[in-house]
């Protein structure tokens, strides 16, 4: 047998793993379908609901952007959209601030392999804990409002931000720190000139990306009482007021698009 053929034999047998995954996936789909019974009456309604939804777009209620009867400006769609935006923004800021110490705890470079495991596990727990459950808990405990939304988003964001921050710290180039040491810099000066210029732009970029995600989830979380625009989705969907729902949709799309554009433009600048 040629050497190359021997080496070929030693290649990892990926197909076994692939097969296992495929079988598991099919089993999961079958299992899920079995559990759900489909109500034919409801299925027949789907086209009508979709039609009603789009008809809503035809007669969008522009004045609702600025206020509803009896509740003028304070509860307008624009006001609540700005509230959602602020919840997303301050939630992200809180998340980024909380993520920094956790990231250092999860960085092998800083605390060593073993302690970093502890930090990573903590981050995994935060990441997998469903945001919506956290929101239910905090709404129950702290009441309905923006502060609750900010806390939910802040805490939940730590999972992803902390992980990506830790990676940034671990991929840091140590050679410039060595140069600063040779120049006679003290500890804080090394951090200021050797570490921050490397990690700050990347961390800001990661945070902006997260802001994108958070503005979207701030909208949904509002529906269960975490402040902002989402509450209108609950109020006007039972029974559905399609014209108002469409107006809210337009506001959400505009908001998400603006945040998306601004954040990606800023990120381009940073990297």
């Amino acid at each position: 047998m040629k050497n190359s053929e021997k080496a070929l034999k030693k290649l990892p047998k990926k197909w076994i793993i692939n097969l296992i995954f495929t079988v598991a996936l099919i089993a999961l789909v079958i299992y899920t379908l079995e559990g759900s019974t489909i109500n034919p009456l409801r299925v027949k309604q789907i086209p009508f609901i979709i039609a009603a939804f789009f008809r809503g777009f035809a007669d969008i209620l522009w004045p609702a952007l600025f206020g509803f009867d009896g509740y003028q400006f304070n509860e307008s769609i624009i006001y609540l959209a700005l509230q959602t935006l602020s919840i997303g923004f301050f939630g992200t800021l809180l998340g980024a601030i909380l993520a920094i110490p956790v990231a250092f705890l999860a960085s092998r470079n800083i605390v060593g392999k073993h302690l970093a495991k502890v930090g990573s596990v903590l981050l995994v727990i935060i990441r997998v804990f469903p945001e919506i459950i956290l929101a239910y808990i905090l709404v129950k405990g702290l009441g309905i409002g923006s502060i609750t939304g900010i806390l939910v988003i802040g805490i939940h964001s730590v999972g992803m931000l902390g992980k990506l921050f830790a990676e940034t710290i671990d991929e840091m180039d140590r050679s410039s720190i060595e140069a600063l040491e040779a120049v006679g810099a003290n500890g804080l000066q090394k951090v200021r000139y050797g570490i921050l210029p490397q990690i700050l732009p990347l961390m800001t970029s990661i945070t902006l990306y997260r802001l994108d995600i958070n503005v979207r989830s701030a909208t949904v979380l509002g529906a269960i009482g975490a402040g902002g625009l989402g509450v209108l989705l609950t109020v006007f969907s039972d029974p559905p007021a399609w014209d108002i729902l469409a107006t809210i949709m337009v506001a959400i799309m505009a908001m998400v698009m603006i945040v998306d554009t601004v954040s990606s433009k800023l990120r381009e600048k940073l990297i």
């Binding site: 180039d173 050679s175 410039s176 060595e178 140069a179 600063l180 040491e181 040779a182 120049v183 006679g184 810099a185 003290n186 804080l188 000066q189 200021r192 000139y193 050797g194 210029p197 490397q198 732009p201």
Partner: protein
């Protein structure tokens, strides 16, 4: 003046990198340290600014014994010694100007430097250093946008901005192409002559060492086996330093 008295270095894994080195390097000299990879060149060079602490013996810089100094005194020592690395060691995401300005951080208290505040003289000094190396026009470019040769010049400008009396260079041209190598070595020669700064450089290529340095220190297995003028180096001495005859292309550094 640098003086090694029976300097030994044993790493924590037991490797004896320096086995009793005795040397004296005078102000204004251009010294090249040559030897095989692993001979102890970097250890010798880095012990001078205490980036690597020695295990025993004495090391004097201007008659101050440095193995006992630490903290502020150590930082004052380091700020008076420039250091050049094989891979330039610039802060890649920072502008050339800001990189060069970091040559001054050792001269100021923490607080102003944390806010990026430097006196006007420092800023002028940084720009003068860039000018001296012919890269003033790159001052506001990000460091990682420059070629290798230009980056090494930025590193040299950073060292000059320290107003050092001595520059240590660990394989300064090992990652540069032959043409840039000559340009950067010319810069070293100019800095040595014009500013009177002592240069101690680890060199990979014997021919470059002989061309630029006035004095050669040959080191083998942690022992200084040759110390003399470049003009005194001959075939037999190279055999002693490298343990074998060099092939023609090795001498030429191709």
């Amino acid at each position: 003046m640098i003086r090694f008295v029976d300097v030994q270095k044993t790493y924590s894994n037991g490797v004896q990198a320096l086995k009793g080195v005795n040397l004296q390097i005078n102000d204004g000299e251009f010294v090249a340290i040559i030897g095989l990879s692993g001979a102890g060149k970097s250890t010798l060079l880095r012990s001078i600014n205490k980036m690597i602490p020695i295990t025993s013996g004495q090391l004097y810089i201007d008659d101050i014994e440095i193995s006992s100094i630490r903290g502020k005194a150590l930082r004052y020592l380091r700020r008076s010694i420039g250091m050049i690395f094989q891979s330039f060691n610039l802060v890649k995401r920072m502008s050339v100007y800001n990189n060069v300005l970091t040559g001054r951080v050792g001269y100021h208290s923490t607080f102003p430097t944390l806010f990026g505040l430097f006196p006007r003289e420092d800023k002028i000094l940084a720009l003068d250093s860039l000018d001296a190396l012919g890269i003033l026009d790159k001052a506001f470019t990000r460091a990682d946008q420059l070629s290798g040769g230009q980056q090494q010049r930025v590193a040299l400008a950073r060292a000059l901005t320290q107003k050092p009396k001595l520059i240590l260079a660990d394989e300064p041209v090992a990652s540069l192409d032959p043409i840039t190598t000559v340009q950067v070595m010319d810069d070293f020669a100019r800095i040595n002559k014009d500013f009177g700064i002592t240069i101690v450089a680890n060199m990979h290529h014997v021919d470059l060492a002989l061309k630029y340095a006035t004095r050669i220190i040959g080191i083998r297995d942690g022992i200084v086996v040759f110390d003399g003028l470049s003009s005194e180096v001959n075939e037999q001495i190279l055999v002693e330093v490298y343990g074998r005859t060099l092939k023609h292309n090795e001498v030429l550094g191709e």
